[in-house]
Amino acid sequence: MPLLLIPGLPLISFCILIFFGRRLGKFAPVVSLAALLGSFLLSLQQWKWLAIDLHQSFVAGVDGRVAEVFEHYVWTWLTLGDHPLRMGFMADPLSVVMCLVVTGIGWLIMLYSTGYMKGDPRYSRFFAYLSLFFCAMLTLVLADNFLLLYIGWEGVGLCSYLLISFWFEKPAAANAGKKAFLTTRVGDLGLFGAILLIAKITGDLSFADLGGKAALLGGWAPVVAVLIFWGAAGKSAQFPLHVWLPDAMEGPTPVSALIHAATMVAAGVYLVARTLPLFLANAQALAVVAAVGAFTSLFAATIACTQTDLKRILAYSTLSQLGLMMLGLGTGNSFAGMFHLVTHAWFKALLFLGAGSVIHAVHHQEITRMGGLWRKMPVTAGTFLLASVAMAGIPPFSGYWSKEGLLTAISSSLPPVYLAAAMLVSLLTAFYITRAVVLTFFGAPREESHAHESPAVMTVPLMVLAIGAAGIGLLGSPWLGHGMQHFMGAEAGHHEAPHWLESASVLIASAGIALALVRYGLGWQLLPEGLRVSLRPLYRLVAGKYFVDELYELALLRPVRWISQKLFGFDAGVVDGAVNGAGEAGLRLSRVKRWVDEHWVDGAVNGTAWSAGQAGGMLRLLQTGLVQNYLLVASAGALAIFFILR
């Protein structure tokens, strides 16, 4: 039952805020914060139970995984024929870790939003939407079957739409919301198809025994796995469905931090991790995951190096890191991807909130117009720097440990080309994040601004997140005995990485940082003039985001628009013509009918009345009113009867 309350509390909060939020005014966040704190504490309790369970099975000498007894709440939703449709929540290690990430980071971001959104006319509605988002996300995470997961999945998509276009007065925000909704919907179609196939072939939608289901699916298994991945790619913004995420930065910054960096986009990674047995059953599907992940990661990292909008840099960096997580899952080791998801959630939320703090102060997002901000906003600068270092993968911060895990998994189970791609991504990551930090916070101010440090309600979450971003990775490090790996049932240290890997990754990250420092800190040109000129088209290609949006415009939107114009023409000419023609014909026919009615039908009716009137006129002559007339007639009649009957 407490399990039901984890998504239930935010739902209650949503109901209160959507109906009474306006009356609560500036106290609205208190409700949502309290509800989410409750969810967080309940998740913590679940974690504690699981940890005790793990400890006991360890003491009892049971090998490997945590005993499969965990909180599991099931009920029958409805019965179709003799197929009961079961719904259920379950708290296994995977979902509990996700729950803690979502509610923990979510709570800090919500606290931050109370400061960031201050003075917004729809203040309480923002927190209502956030509450609904948490309800949907926690439902997704705790679901024990595909159907409930899909419900949460769609709920999350809806909230994403509502929150991206929260400032719907801005056309860009409204369009970005629409784009996000439609693009993820294309992905959802894949997941939906996969669910239909699983329901049709196996008749059971629960997550139990996915390996057995994969065997039942037989030839359909790769199709189902790829369809699930297609859905995950939509939500986690993998190529080619990545186009919505950078545009989603039009939403309020806490939304970007919460949904488009820390939690919601992780839903796709979570889905793949959850259904990994389906992928493990066939190598092709796993290869697709790895390939798309690696490609997206590299693709987005190069774009991030060329952007000048602070939030867009972070958006492409998110794409790139999500790609890395997918690549990690593509090794068949769910822990590698999930661990990176957890650490990424912390440092990326921190980066976004730091960016929000900067934008709050300078009122624009162009890093080329910033500079020297560290003096004016030391807390923001310090925490941002820490998160950057964590993301770049410098030990002992969190990003280092998870990236280490990823690289180890990749080197041991995938071809070397993937390792090279991951290495290149970590070089680029270090480069672009250092570039952003240097241009934003250091050097001489490039523009007069009256920037100032944000209020405490915004900086305190930054500091708490900074602690997480620095230290969360230690949970999975050898220093703490691979605690997280044990908790999630991953075999720690199973894959032996080559010794050079560790130092190589640190070296590469440092190289990236150094390059960016030399180029943007000292202002040296790294490449000779001639090479730069010849590379300019390439730069334009990357800075234009490989023109994927334009390609979609050309290949999809134009034809659709052309077809719809033709269809409109058909509609206006033929269909409207037919409808109007039918109307015209009806009008003509009714005129004829009216003539018939007036002349024939009315004639008959009036004729009947007229003849009755005439007959009456004749008969009324008999009615003289003279009593003696009547008497005479009566007497004559009596006489006549007398003579007839005689």
Binding site: L622, Q623, T624, G625, V627, Q628, L631, S635
Partner: protein, 103 residues
Amino acid sequence: MIIPLSHMLVVSAGLFALGIFGALTRRNAIGILMAIELILNSANLNLIAFGRARGDVGGETQVVALIVIGIAAAGAVVGLALVLAIFRHRQTISADEIKLLKG
């Protein structure tokens, strides 16, 4: 002296004819009422004559005739009241001029 039945029937028929004639020809409403009384009395006469002819000695038929007379008196009262009411309204009792029910 015994008066034969036929004589009485002739007198009765004569009274009846007078009554009908009066009722059809009089213009005065009171005259018409009086003529109707004649008709009723001719009927009474007929009744008693037939009663005697069938050997009624106890006078049962005569009682019926008395009832007819009483009812005729009551009818005359109603008729006269109507005539009075009409006179008050229209200042006339001529049957020619009273034709409210003309179609």
